[in-house]
Amino acid sequence: MIDESLKGELQKQGIWVTSMQELYNWGRKNSIWPLQFGLACCAIEMIATAASRYDLARFGGEVFRPSPRQADLMIVAGTVTKKMAPQIVRLYNQMPDPKYVISMGACAISGGPFKQGYNVLKGIDRYIPVDVYIPGCPPRPEALLHAFMELQRKIDGQKLSGASQAEFLKENTPSEYPVPAFGAHDLEPPANLDVFHPPAIERA
């Protein structure tokens, strides 16, 4: 690794030095292709974010792909019903690594106003790992842009080698998660405990 002060000094002299990791992450973070799908009213805010006024293209995220095979980012924008959850997990499984998930809005985080309803999943993080959560009902486009920039920061900080290597590069990290099945009363299983770790219930 090159010394930061030396790198700055060289840059002043017109010599640009970089590392493979920096170049790789710089390319990845400025060209995040989201998967094109929406679930509820949050999707309208996502569309507004992608359109001219908020212009997600400024951050390199305007290429919404209609196929999970070409997407880097899944924006879970809206209420995930229990009937829809297996399809979301399947889409996530079909995305190539490295892949990221933004959980957009109260419903995608926790079920929101529909929590404790019979048909709504209490957060998509029960089945797939989530990188950025945005609260709001629905979150404003600025909030989605903020989440996008947070994700860019995360990608920028991912190491290609060493002990703190990025999770997706490790061999034993799964890139697919089991798709829940439709049960008689609820989804089976109701949460994937390899991914989801709720806090312990304490006595009030």
């Binding site: 229990k82 009937k83 019979y118 048909n119 209490k122 439709f182 008689a184 009363h185 219930i201 006595r203």
Partner: protein, 220 residues
Amino acid sequence: MESIEEMKARAEQAISGARLEIVPNPGPAGQPSLLLDHEHAFAVANFLRADPALRLDYCSNVTGVDWLDRTVKKKVKVKKLVDGVEKEIEETQEEFFPGYLEAVYHVYSIEHKHGPVVVRLRTRDRAEGAPLPSLTPVWRSAEFQEREIYDLYGIHFEGHPDLRRILMWDEFTDFPMRKDYREPDDYEYEPTPHDEVLEKAKQHYAPRPAEDGAEHLAAD
């Protein structure tokens, strides 16, 4: 539009044997509704649709209601002999109404620009799969809504062209809008549980046999 009483009289005249009932509405809307009997529901619905004065050709909404068993207490003044003297005494009488499931149809006429007329169908009891005649053959727009009622209340619409679940998945066995529905126990950590949520939380506390007593100790 003619009154619901006239409607009932004409329908009963047109269809022999039809037993219609007017369900009053004591609420602020004050809109009475027509209760159809199972045997003649299709014929009466067809009459409402085809009759030139009514032409109720548009079914805008179908909904389900779950009515539990209920007892109504009434205070009635009764004349009785008390110690040989006739006196008026207030007595409370209890009247029992068995529960049933109900489908409510709101129909309008596009041609005459009138409506709604509220049409009701009631099952005999609250049993699962209690039958009702389907009105989808009369009003096509009732198809999905009757499927929804079947999905959420478990009313079986006889004569429906495609009766299966519409919102929940096919493997689902419960009827979640019925009042006796109990959701699966999926309580998770809440930061500030209170009221009903606190009651749920209490059921998930780790056992404390040392403090709560020996009955919670596992038998060795």
